[in-house]
Amino acid sequence: MRLKVWRALAWGTLLESLRRKDLWVVAILGFLIMLFAGALGVFGIDGLEIFAKDLGVTVLGGLSSVIAVLTASRALPDEIRQRTLYPLLARPISRFDLLAGKLLGCTLVTWIAFAMLAALTSLALLSFRIPLEPVMLQYLLVKAMGLSVVCAVSLALSVYMTPSAAATLSFTLLFGSGMLVRALLMSYENASSGAGLLYKAIYALLPQYGLFDLGSRVVNRGWGPVPFWVVGSLAAYAALYGLAMLALSWHKFHRQAV
């Protein structure tokens, strides 16, 4: 029963995204990828294969993450602003169902956009006769998991703050958490035991988006696929962190006056 409700809500989110022409943005971004690839082709790709692949994977990861944040941080506030939330809540569905359905819908929209961009990037690379290795499939799978975590975090933040603030904070976490983790790793060795504990706590709380990026193995030569236990662990982490964010959203939303 619940699955049916979540599926219906997710489908509604996807249709809403199509109505808002969000996927047009993806198409334009894809066009820009092709345009940039064309410019690189004019300059000459000989010897720049690794760089072209690096650029493709970086742009693909960056754009799909941006789409995830923008989609998820607006999903719920838009329903409230357009007053379409009331007829939804008048139906026999719980607020948790609403949040779960929205999260599934946002993840679905992001995955479709990601698939479109990945297809265009692969096309651009193949047009330069740059081969794609099996690890690329793992990259796509793991990145898709990571995008679901981005959606969960953005949705949770949008429950606690305005859509703009949620989007800003999501972007800060998206692009800044990696740097913060590096800083924690560097500082840990010389830190006191108290500070060390604090670093560990901060690390545990931060969403580890960087773990879902296999880009460096895709780009550079001589790196094969990652072991399956790594993919499995990342799937478990994504599920756990997503559930935690969902619980956090529900904690605020279930008693929020709308």
Binding site: D46, G47, L48, F51, L211, R217, V230, S233
Partner: protein
């Protein structure tokens, strides 16, 4: 009273702004290597300049990354060095600069014994391009040549792009590589006519490739002139290049038998680099009796060696 205070504040602000233009010569003296003035008057040009600088810096970092097979490296922090931590070092020390670089870098992702993250650290090591880089080797530098061309095309004032790209070119494809490197550096010189690094590297390229000394001397002369003019604004690399220009030039004069010029150049160099062992020896040659005993090993070497590894190698031919 309040109005008067506000008026005075505005007046002071105006005066500071007005007088600030007088500092122009202090902060940007004539002759220093500066981006085109158009960047100061056009915000679009300024933005473009910043964009290309950022892009070339990013390309530079990517080049380093590809040379290390995708393994991200970082420099040791001051605290780490103070705590006695050592870099990973390299196994293919073909160049002093690279050896020095490798002695001060470690992997960005820490090794298991230095990582507090447990399974998360292990996942990161498994999912990334990571390996133990102690005594590592580098990928074929030739693969990075297109990137050097790209970064200097994007950002012509990026000196390190010209000099490092030329070094890699000269080290591959024999004579053809040397010619390519020379053309590359000359292109760099057109974009940066007073660059001490490019001028010195051009001279050194010619000397070390068995070309007549007369071809290299003008470049060293120009490097020294440019270096003296910009002395207060030369960075570490610029100063090192200037030091090398003095050393090479004095050694060339020694090999040509022009003892007066040799001493004059070395003495001039010592004014800027008073502790330089090679220049000291060139400025104050040993007594005649000692020189005659050295003559066999010293006699007209093909290439003088300007390096100073803590002791004097001026007479060493390689």
């Amino acid at each position: 009273m309040r109005r008067m205070a506000i008026g005075m504040l505005f007046g002071a602000t105006f005066l500071v702004g007005f007088a600030a233009s007088g500092l122009r010569e202090t902060v940007r003296p004539e002759g220093t290597q500066i981006r085109p003035e158009v960047a100061e008057e056009s915000s679009a040009a300024s933005l473009l300049g910043q964009f290309r600088t950022s892009l070339s810096a990013w390309l530079w970092l990517r080049t380093d990354l590809y040379l290390h097979g995708g393994v991200e490296m970082r420099a040791l922090s001051v605290q780490e060095r103070a705590a006695g931590r050592e870099g990973v070092g390299g196994a293919d020390h073909v160049h002093d600069a690279m050896a020095k670089h490798d002695a001060n870098i470690v992997t960005v992702i820490p090794s298991p014994e230095r990582d507090f993250r447990g399974i998360f650290g292990e996942i990161e090591r498994q999912k990334s391009a990571y390996r133990d880089m102690r005594q590592h080797t580098h990928a074929d530098p030739e693969m990075t040549l297109p990137l050097f061309r790209l970064m200097t095309w994007v950002d012509p004032p990026f000196i390190a792009g010209w000099t490092n790209g030329a070094q890699i070119m000269a080290g591959s494809h024999g004579d053809e590589g040397v010619h390519k490197a020379q053309r590359f550096l000359e292109d760099g010189l057109k974009a940066n006519p007073i660059s001490v690094e490019i001028l010195t590297d051009l001279g050194t390229l010619l000397v070390t490739e068995d070309r007549p000394y007369e071809e290299a001397i003008p470049y060293y002369r120009r490097a020294i002139e440019a270096g003296k003019r910009q002395w207060n604004h030369l960075g570490e690399n610029g100063q090192e290049s200037l030091r090398f220009a003095y050393r090479w030039l004095s050694l060339i004069y020694r090999n040509q038998g022009s003892l007066t010029e040799r001493r004059a150049v070395a003495k001039e160099g010592l004014e800027l680099f008073p502790d330089d062992g090679v220049l000291k020896r060139q400025a104050n040659p040993p007594p005649l009796i000692l020189r005659s005993s050295q003559r066999e090993s010293d006699a007209m070497p093909q290439h003088p060696e300007p390096h100073d590894h803590g002791h004097d190698h001026a007479g060493h031919a390689h």
